[in-house]
C-alpha cells in the first residue's frame, strides 16, 4: 500500500532516481575510480552550485515562470560580496550584502513581471544583461580575489568528512522543501502555476507571492555565489554564464513542467545529481568535452520525452 502510494505520487522522481542509480551502476562497472568515497564526495561538492541555483529555478518554474538571470545575478552578488569582504569587514556582513543583492535583483524581476506585466522570459532576459553589466561595471571587468580563511572555509572545510558546500546545499534543500510543502507560500506557488486566475479568485495576492518567488530565486543564486566565490577564492564578473541552462535542465530532468504547477525539490536534486554524476563519470572515462555536451543534451531530451509519453499513456 505504502509503496503503491509512493509510486503514485512520486513516480516521476522515482523514475529519475532509478535512472541515476543505473547510471551509477554503469559507471561503477566501467571505471574503478568512480565508486570511491572520495570521488562521490567530490561529485556532491561539484553539484552543489548548480543544485542550489536549481532550487530557485524550480520554484519559479512551478509558478509557470522562468528565470534566465540566475547566472548573472550570481556573478553580480558574488562580486559585490567579494568587494565588501576585501574591506576587512566582518564576514557575516559581506554575506548579508551579497545575499541582499541577490534578493534585490530577484525582487526586481518579480516586480517587472507582476506590476510591469512583462512575460518572465523577457523580464529576466533583461535582468540577465543588466546584472551581468552591473557586475562588470562594478569591477571594471576584473575578478575580485583573495579572501580570509574564515570565508574560504565555506567551500574548503568539512564536517564529518562531508564538504561544506554539500552541507549548505542540503540545508537549502531541506529549508526550501519545507517551504514548498509546509507553508502557504508553497501552496500558493503550486496554485499560481496550476491556474493563476483560479488562485486570484480564491483571494490570494498573486502579485505579492509571485514577486517573492523571484526574490527567493535571487536568494538561491546568491547562496550559490557564496560557495563559488569561496571555492575559487575569487569572484569573477563573468562567472555563472549558462548556469541558467544547467539549472533549467536539472529542474526539468527532475520532473517539473515548464507549464507550471508541477515539480518537487526532491526531483530537482536528483536531476542535478544526475547531471553531476554524468559529467564526473564522462571525465573519468576520458570522454571529450564535445561528446559530453551531446550526451548531456540527449539525457535532457530522453528524460522529458519519457515523461511525456508516460503522461499520455496514463490518460
Amino acid at each position: 500500500m505504502n509503496f503503491k502510494k509512493l509510486l503514485l505520487h512520486h513516480g516521476r522522481q522515482l523514475g529519475t532516481l532509478a535512472g541515476l542509480l543505473l547510471l551509477v551502476l554503469a559507471l561503477s562497472l566501467r571505471t574503478p575510480y568512480f565508486l570511491t568515497v572520495s570521488n562521490l564526495l567530490t561529485v556532491l561538492e561539484q553539484v552543489s552550485i548548480n543544485a542550489i541555483v536549481a532550487v530557485g529555478m524550480t520554484v519559479v518554474i512551478i509558478t509557470a515562470g522562468i528565470d534566465l538571470s540566475v547566472g548573472s545575478i550570481l556573478a553580480f552578488a558574488g562580486v559585490v560580496m567579494a568587494t565588501v569582504l576585501q574591506k576587512d569587514l566582518p564576514v557575516p556582513l559581506g554575506l548579508a550584502v551579497g545575499l541582499g543583492v541577490g534578493v534585490g535583483c530577484g525582487l526586481l524581476n518579480g516586480l517587472l513581471i507582476t506590476i510591469g506585466r512583462l512575460p518572465p522570459f523577457i523580464a529576466t532576459l533583461g535582468m540577465m544583461s543588466i546584472a551581468r553589466g552591473g557586475a562588470l561595471l562594478f569591477t571594471n571587468g576584473r575578478p575580485v580575489s583573495g579572501f580570509s580563511d574564515g570565508f574560504r572555509a565555506l567551500a574548503t572545510s568539512q564536517f564529518l568528512y562531508i564538504p561544506m558546500p554539500t552541507l549548505i546545499m542540503l540545508g537549502v534543500y531541506v529549508a526550501c522543501h519545507l517551504l514548498l510543502t509546509r507553508t502557504r507560500f508553497g501552496l500558493y506557488a503550486y496554485a499560481m502555476g496550476g491556474n493563476e486566475q483560479a488562485t486570484h479568485l480564491s483571494g490570494i495576492n498573486v502579485r505579492l507571492h509571485k514577486t517573492l518567488v523571484y526574490g527567493l530565486c535571487g536568494l538561491t543564486s546568491a547562496i550559490a555565489a557564496v560557495i563559488l566565490t569561496a571555492r575559487l577564492n575569487s569572484a569573477q564578473p563573468i562567472a555563472g554564464m549558462t548556469y541558467e541552462l544547467d539549472a533549467i535542465a536539472a529542474t526539468v530532468i527532475g520532473g517539473a513542467s515548464l507549464m507550471g504547477g508541477q515539480g518537487t525539490l526532491v526531483g530537482t536534486l536528483i536531476g542535478a545529481l544526475l547531471m553531476g554524476v554524468l559529467r564526473n563519470g564522462l571525465n573519468l572515462l576520458e570522454v571529450s568535452s564535445f561528446l559530453q555536451q551531446v550526451i548531456i543534451g540527449a539525457v535532457i531530451i530522453v528524460a522529458v520525452l519519457l515523461d511525456m509519453t508516460l503522461k499520455q499513456n496514463r490518460k
Partner: protein, 316 residues
C-alpha cells in the same frame, strides 16, 4: 497497471543513460596498461586552434615517450569552475602528473592545492598562476612552461614603432579581463610603444578572446575613431574578427592589424598581405615540452622553474 508503466519508464530512462554512458567511452580502457605513466593535460578549451596545436605536440611527445595522455577541457573558456571540476575529477582517477593551462590565474590556485595534497605533481603551461595567490595558499608546481607573453606584446609594439613614422593612433583589443596571459600581452604592447612619441593609444577594450566580439568591438571603435591606423589584438581570434570589421567598413588595407598566436588562418592573411603580422607562440612546442618535463618530474629528474618557449613576430 500504473506501477508497471512507471517501472517501465524508470527502466527505459536508466537504459538510455547506461547506453549513453558506455557508448561515450571509446577510448582505451583506463588503467589497462598499468606500467605506462598517465599524464593529464587540461587546457582551457578545445575549440581553438592554439590548444589543438598544443594537444598535437603533447600527443606526439606522449607517443615517443610511451605515456598515456588524457586531454580534457571545459566547454567554454570562461567557465573556470568547470575546469576546476575537471581537475578534481582527474585527481580522482589518480593520474601521475597533471599539466594545466589555467583559465583563471587566481581561481585555479585552490585546485592545484588539492592536487598537491593528493601527491600529484603539477606543471603549469601557457598561463601563469598569480604569484600572490600561490604564495598565500602555499601551493606548489614543478615548473612553468610558456611563452613570455609580455615580451611578445613588446615585440608587437616595437614593430608598430618601426612601421609608422608619422603621428599615428592605435587601438587595442584586450582578452578576457583579469587573465594573466592577455594582461601581460597588453602590458607588453603598451611598454613596447612607449619609446615612440608618435604612437598614441586611442582606445583599449576587451573583446574576450572571441572572434565575433572582436568584430563588434572593432566596428564600434571604427565608428568612434575614424583615424585609426593600427590595431593590436591580444589573440588572433579577435584580430581576425577585427579584420572582418575593417573589411565591412571598406577600409581594408588602410589599417594594420597585428594579432597574437599566429594561428593557421592568421598566417594565411599575413601571407596574402591583408594582415600586418602576428606574434607566434609555439603551442606545439609547449605541448611537447609539457609532456617531456612531466616525464622528467616522474623520474625524479630536475626541471627548471621557468621554461621559456620561443616567441617571434610573423610578418609577410
Amino acid at each position: 497497471m500504473k506501477t508497471r508503466i512507471l517501472l517501465r519508464r524508470a527502466a527505459l530512462l536508466g537504459l538510455a543513460l547506461g547506453i549513453l554512458a558506455t557508448t561515450g567511452c571509446n577510448r582505451t580502457e583506463p588503467g589497462a596498461n598499468d606500467s605506462r605513466p598517465r599524464v593529464a593535460l587540461v587546457v582551457k578549451t578545445l575549440n581553438s586552434p592554439f590548444f589543438l596545436d598544443m594537444q598535437r605536440g603533447a600527443q606526439k611527445a606522449a607517443e615517443q615517450l610511451g605515456v598515456d595522455l588524457i586531454v580534457q577541457a571545459a566547454e567554454r573558456e570562461v567557465d573556470v569552475e568547470r575546469q576546476m571540476q575537471i581537475v578534481e575529477n582527474l585527481i580522482q582517477t589518480r593520474v601521475d602528473v597533471l599539466c594545466l593551462t589555467p583559465s583563471g590565474s587566481k581561481e585555479l590556485v585552490p585546485v592545484v592545492g588539492k592536487a598537491n595534497r593528493a601527491g600529484i605533481p603539477v606543471l603549469i603551461v601557457d598561463t601563469r598562476l598569480d604569484e600572490a595567490a600561490v604564495k598565500n595558499d602555499g601551493v606548489e608546481f614543478a615548473c612553468f612552461i610558456g611563452s613570455d607573453n609580455y615580451e611578445g606584446g613588446r615585440i608587437a609594439g616595437a614593430h608598430f614603432g618601426r612601421v609608422f613614422t608619422n603621428d599615428t593612433r592605435l587601438v587595442v583589443l584586450e582578452g578576457i579581463p583579469g587573465h594573466e596571459t592577455a594582461d601581460s600581452r597588453v602590458r607588453g604592447f603598451r611598454d613596447g610603444i612607449k619609446p615612440f612619441a608618435n604612437l598614441h593609444l586611442a582606445a583599449s577594450q576587451p573583446a574576450n578572446n572571441e572572434r565575433d566580439q572582436g568584430f563588434n568591438v572593432m566596428q564600434n571603435m571604427l565608428q568612434a575613431h575614424r583615424d585609426i591606423q593600427g590595431v593590436f589584438a591580444s589573440n588572433d581570434m579577435m584580430a581576425l574578427g577585427a579584420l572582418e570589421a575593417i573589411r565591412a567598413a571598406d577600409r581594408a588595407g588602410q589599417i594594420k592589424v597585428v594579432g597574437f598566436d599566429a594561428v593557421e588562418e592568421a598566417r594565411k592573411e599575413i601571407a596574402a598581405g591583408t594582415m600586418e603580422g602576428s606574434v607566434a607562440q609555439n603551442p606545439e612546442a609547449m605541448g611537447r615540452l609539457a609532456i617531456e618535463n612531466a616525464v622528467k618530474v616522474l623520474q625524479g629528474e630536475p626541471v627548471p622553474d621557468y621554461l621559456p618557449v620561443p616567441i617571434e613576430l610573423v610578418t609577410r
